[in-house]
């Protein structure tokens, strides 16, 4: 029998302080009854007989007396079974689709535990997304965490939706499902995703955890943890290939900052708490594959860079944890190119072991390398031509401009419904590389030049 506490010492923003507690443990779940309504919270600090509890829902309407607080003795757990596929939950894992509770004997702690590095399987199988820029230059690997660094108003949602739609088709082995975690996104963005899942015919293979922009901020901290716990269950116990889409990480981090400020913690950069890195890592590192299970968790977190600044703490710390990033560019988007991926800062750290002979095609690594190198030269030439004018450029520099144009409009640009396989993408890559003279292609093995170059 758990004791109930009927008064609070203090209420401050999302935090409540309870005095005179006994036997309370760190991180355990708390149930709070206010005027017939049940709210939830978590113990975030213990100090003698004081417990500081972070309340997931709104604390407005609470008073220090008219209340009942019960400590459950357990961390937040959610019930899991195969039946969660096709369901929709709120930010703390309660069903909101009217489908009733999940019945299952299996309950997982949403905080998860770190995967032992010796138990991991190294990711090597690539996922064909049908998007040339991603497949060729920032290849997505099963078990990878590859975020999209975007900005407000850029089409990150479309790209994520296109990946979901097209990645499914290429799956030959094992079951595929999507776990979708919405953190502080707008209602219309949420609808867009639901509509796309529906059109792609995967809605019954999607588990959704929704914390929208007007939902309680604190709940947002738990949302990705619920989603990843569901993903771990489906991947490692049901052997499914899970694609986790988490959007928007920026809202998540702001929620973290808000609570940190309420707790009067020493701030790190830009007011974000000093443990932001560790906290983000506890989400991102839950991607991967483990021994003894055929399933995998691939993460595509989406974050909107405040002020399009890649050195802002959120994209910066994310980039240090994730295995690469896909960076979108406003400038490219304004030139009417979809998907507006700026390939130069984009990177996939795991592609080196998942492409080339035996995986995609033998010439793939060299071609990718050459495209990066030549396209970076295009930027230099462009900068020069702005100063001296295009007419004054040397012949070879003019070729580079032509190549840059072709790269952006023939290779990068594609339709939302256009699904290019890897051979097609590489074919276009060779078409545009062949604009340049053969001896400019210094990153490509001469053997492949002879076989594929069309000069």
């Amino acid at each position: 029998m758990h004791k109930e506490y009927l008064s609070l010492k203090k209420i401050e923003g999302p935090l409540i302080v309870i005095e005179g507690v006994e036997g309370v443990s760190y991180n355990e779940m708390v149930e709070i009854k206010v005027q017939g309504e049940t709210k939830h919270g978590k113990v975030v600090q213990l100090n003698n007989d004081l417990a500081i509890v972070q309340v997931f829902e709104n604390t407005s309407g609470m008073s220090v007396n008219n209340i009942s607080v019960k400590f459950t003795g357990k961390p937040l757990e959610i019930k899991l079974s195969r039946e969660i596929l096709g369901r929709m939950f709120n930010g703390i894992g309660q069903p909101i689709d009217g489908g009733g509770p999940v019945f299952s004997g299996i309950k997982f702690d949403v905080n998860g535990s770190p995967i032992n590095p010796v138990a991991r399987r190294y990711p090597r199988n690539y996922i064909q997304t049908g998007i040339s820029a991603i497949d060729t230059l920032t290849t997505l690997i099963r078990g990878q965490k590859l975020p999209i660094f975007s900005g407000n108003g850029l089409p990150h949602n479309q790209i994520a939706a296109q990946i979901v739609k097209q990645a499914k088709v290429a799956e030959g082995e094992g079951e595929f499902a999507v776990v979708f975690a919405a953190m502080g996104i707008k209602h219309d963005d949420a609808h867009y995703f639901i509509k796309t899942f529906q059109e792609a015919g995967v809605l019954d293979k999607v588990v959704m955890f929704m914390n929208l922009a007007d939902d309680p901020v604190v709940e947002r901290i738990v949302t990705p943890r619920c989603a990843l716990t569901a993903a771990e269950y489906l991947a490692f116990y049901e052997n499914m290939h899970i694609l986790v889409i988490m959007t928007d990480i920026t809202s998540y981090c702001e929620a973290l900052r808000e609570i940190s400020a309420a707790r009067e913690e020493v701030p790190g950069r830009k007011g974000y708490p000093g443990y932001l890195y560790s906290d983000l890592a506890s989400l991102y590192e839950r991607a991967g594959m483990v021994e003894g299970s055929k399933g995998s968790i691939t993460q595509i977190p989406i974050l909107t860079m405040p002020n399009d600044d890649i050195t802002h703490p959120i994209p910066d710390l994310t980039g240090y944890i994730t295995e690469g990033q896909i960076v979108l560019s406003r400038e490219i988007y304004q030139r009417n190119i979809y998907p507006p991926i700026n390939i130069l800062p984009s990177l996939s750290r795991l592609m080196k072991d998942g492409i080339g002979e035996g995986y995609t095609r033998e010439d793939h690594p060299d071609v990718a390398n050459q495209l990066f190198s030549s396209y970076s030269r295009v930027q230099e030439v462009k900068a020069l031509s702005q100063v001296i004018g295009e007419d004054e450029l040397s012949e070879i520099d003019k070729k580079y401009l032509e190549f840059g144009e072709a790269f952006e409009y023939r290779f990068l640009r594609q339709e939302f419904n256009e699904n290019r396989d890897i051979d097609r993408s590489l074919e276009i890559a060779w078409e545009i590389l062949s604009i340049l003279p053969k001896n400019e292609l210094d990153r490509i093995n001469p053997k492949f030049l002879d076989a594929y170059y069309r000069g």
């Binding site: 770190p114 790190g268 991967g288 130069l344």
Partner: protein, 587 residues
């Protein structure tokens, strides 16, 4: 015993405070709560003690017991370390896997190298021998590459009274008894935060050969030296560290994955047993020790992992080995300090880092060194620390303070990485303070003019960067051919020399002599081209010549075992230019 235990009064993340701690010592190891989580006492104030806990603190209650282990945070040093992978407090990850499966749960307790495993010991002492600290009393063949020397622990001496026969024993067997009462086993324990003693520190003499051209030729690292590799994300820090772990000519590599990615550690675990050491033809895992405390593992253990790694390195140094420590990344360690400091509500200095950050960094890097060990061998610990500056900005506190304590600085550059110039080490911002100390070595072991050529080439690269400023404004075509030649030679250097392909069988590791030959070829080409330009040969002829491309490709086309290939190339260069000059002089 009940009365001697501390009682928890405060929990906040990895920081726990307890009362009744008067009898505890600073830096003592303790267990906390029912699950017996491992922690360390980091401050004592009257009867209140503060403990940092190395495991997840979920579930700890007020009034939980804090029990002393009577010893500081230590590592167990003995056979079974090499080829193994540990967490931040030296618990083998395989044992954790056996106990808790795919996921690391808390409350596993202390674990260390397998003390039941039997090893064949050759004992090197007899009754009556006088032994003192550091003396070798036996050997164990730990891996086909590493002979493990059993040493008398520091502060112990005496005359041998009893000694066992050669044979198979486990780690707990008493092998030697001394008249001082000391009993020598195959292992010893050592507190991680205290450097192991040496006889004396010696000056730097030899380079750590890495097979990476930009490092060996331009910015060498010394055995016993310190180096930092800073770079924003995606610039190839980990890749560079991996290359050094694979190919550098140290006897033992300690690789500390401190707050980095889980998949990267798995990659090392999968790759290293397959990679063959070029000198011994045995798998690299035979000389590698891994410490893995990934970013999502508890933050306090991340703080400890650096010390665990360096202590293990010092132990093998004491045997007479050259050990290289790769710490990836020291920024994550500094952040762990910051995180714990924040939870302790200490007054922050720059960017929230504690004021003692510089002294901690200094303590760590100063544990590197070229030394004479207690048993009179020359040995070294080299530290190569990766730094992950926030926002890729080198002016942040960790990079700046690290710069004060390291002698070689290999700055990685985002712009180079974006154009896939790897290793993306920026030749303008990097430096090595070891050039003068190593000059003699290079002269004796490589070539008399190696260091001279290096200087010439750096000059070319410096001049190029100045010229590029002009080119940005007016274009390349308006420069005189003499200057355009510098641009072309710089291109040769960048593409043909500085860029190195980690996935190419020859190019991944290049011996010093081949590095020298390549430099020589480029230098020769440069000298002759200068003359040719003087007599009026247009630069466009030279830069589109087939020879130019042969030099760019020589790193791939000429194998490490090059025979007369460089001589032939050199002859072709000479012939090409003498024909060219004759042709244009004739006009």
């Amino acid at each position: 015993m009940e009365g001697s235990a501390g009682r928890v009064v405060y929990v906040n993340g990895p920081v726990v405070k307890a009362r009744n701690m008067k009898n505890f010592k600073m830096r003592e190891m303790v267990t906390v709560g029912e699950k017996k989580l491992i922690g360390e006492v980091i401050s004592i104030d009257g009867e209140l003690g503060t403990i940092q806990v190395y495991e997840e603190t979920t579930g700890i209650k007020i009034d939980d017991e804090v029990v002393s282990t009577q010893k500081p945070l230590s590592v167990t040093l003995g056979p079974g370390i090499v080829g193994n992978i540990f967490d931040g407090i030296q618990r083998p990850l395989n044992i954790i896997f056996d106990k808790s499966g795919n996921f690391i749960k808390e409350g596993i307790g202390l674990a260390t190298i397998d003390k039941k495993k039997k090893w064949y010991v050759e004992l090197k002492v007899k009754v009556g021998d006088e032994l003192k600290e550091g003396d070798i009393f036996g050997t164990v063949d730990e891996t086909p590459l590493i002979k493990h020397y059993l040493m008398v622990p520091p502060n112990i001496k005496g005359k041998v009274e009893e000694v066992r026969q050669n044979g198979e024993y486990d780690l707990e067997t008493i092998l030697v008894k001394l008249d001082s009462g000391a009993e020598l086993k195959m292992y010893q324990e050592w507190p991680v935060r205290i450097p192991r003693p040496v006889k004396e520190r010696l000056p730097i003499q030899k380079p750590l050969i890495t097979g990476q051209r930009v490092i060996d030729t331009f910015f060498p690292i010394a055995k016993g030296g310190t180096a930092a590799i800073p770079g924003g994300f995606g610039t190839g820090k980990t890749m560079t560290q991996h290359q050094l772990a694979k190919w550098s000519d140290a006897d033992i590599i300690v690789y500390i994955g401190c707050g980095e990615r889980g998949n990267e550690m798995t990659e090392v675990l999968e790759d290293f047993p397959k990679l063959i050491d070029p000198t011994s033809n045995l798998p690299l895992m035979n000389r590698t020790i891994l410490i893995a405390n990934t970013s999502n593992m508890p933050v306090a253990a991340r703080e400890a992992s650096i010390y665990t790694g360096i202590t293990i390195a010092e132990y093998f140094r004491d045997m007479g080995y050259n050990v290289a420590v790769m710490a990836d990344s020291t920024s994550r360690w500094a952040e762990a300090l910051r995180e714990i400091s924040g939870r302790l509500e200490e007054m922050p200095a720059e960017e929230g880092y504690p004021a003692y950050l510089p002294s901690r960094l200094a303590e760590f890097y100063e544990r590197a060194g070229y030394v004479k060990t207690l048993n009179n061998k020359e040995a070294s610990v080299t530290i190569i620390g990766a730094v992950s500056p926030a926002g890729g900005d080198f002016s942040e506190p960790v990079t700046q303070n690290t710069k004060r304590f390291v002698s070689a600085f290999l700055g990685l550059d985002r712009k180079l990485a974006y154009s896939r110039h790897y290793p993306a080490i920026n030749w303008l911002s990097s430096y090595s303070g070891y050039i003068t100390q190593l000059e003699d070595w290079y002269k004796q072991n490589v070539a008399e003019d190696m260091i001279f050529l290096r200087g010439e080439m750096i000059k070319v690269l410096q001049e190029e960067s100045k010229l590029l400023e002009t080119v940005k404004l007016v274009g390349e075509d308006v420069l005189p051919d003499q200057q355009r030649l510098i641009l072309e030679i710089a291109r040769l250097l960048k593409v043909g020399y500085l860029q190195q392909n980690a996935y190419h069988k020859d190019d991944t590791f290049v011996p010093l002599v081949k590095q020298y030959m390549m430099l020589k070829v480029i230098d020769n080409f440069y000298k002759l081209a200068k003359e040719a330009v003087k007599v009026g040969v247009p630069i466009s002829v030279i830069k589109t010549s087939e020879l130019f491309y042969r030099i760019i490709k020589m790193k791939y086309e000429i194998p490490n075992d090059y025979g007369d290939k460089f001589d032939l190339l050199m002859e072709d260069i000479n012939e090409y230019f003498s024909n060219l000059i004759r042709e244009y002089e004739g006009d």
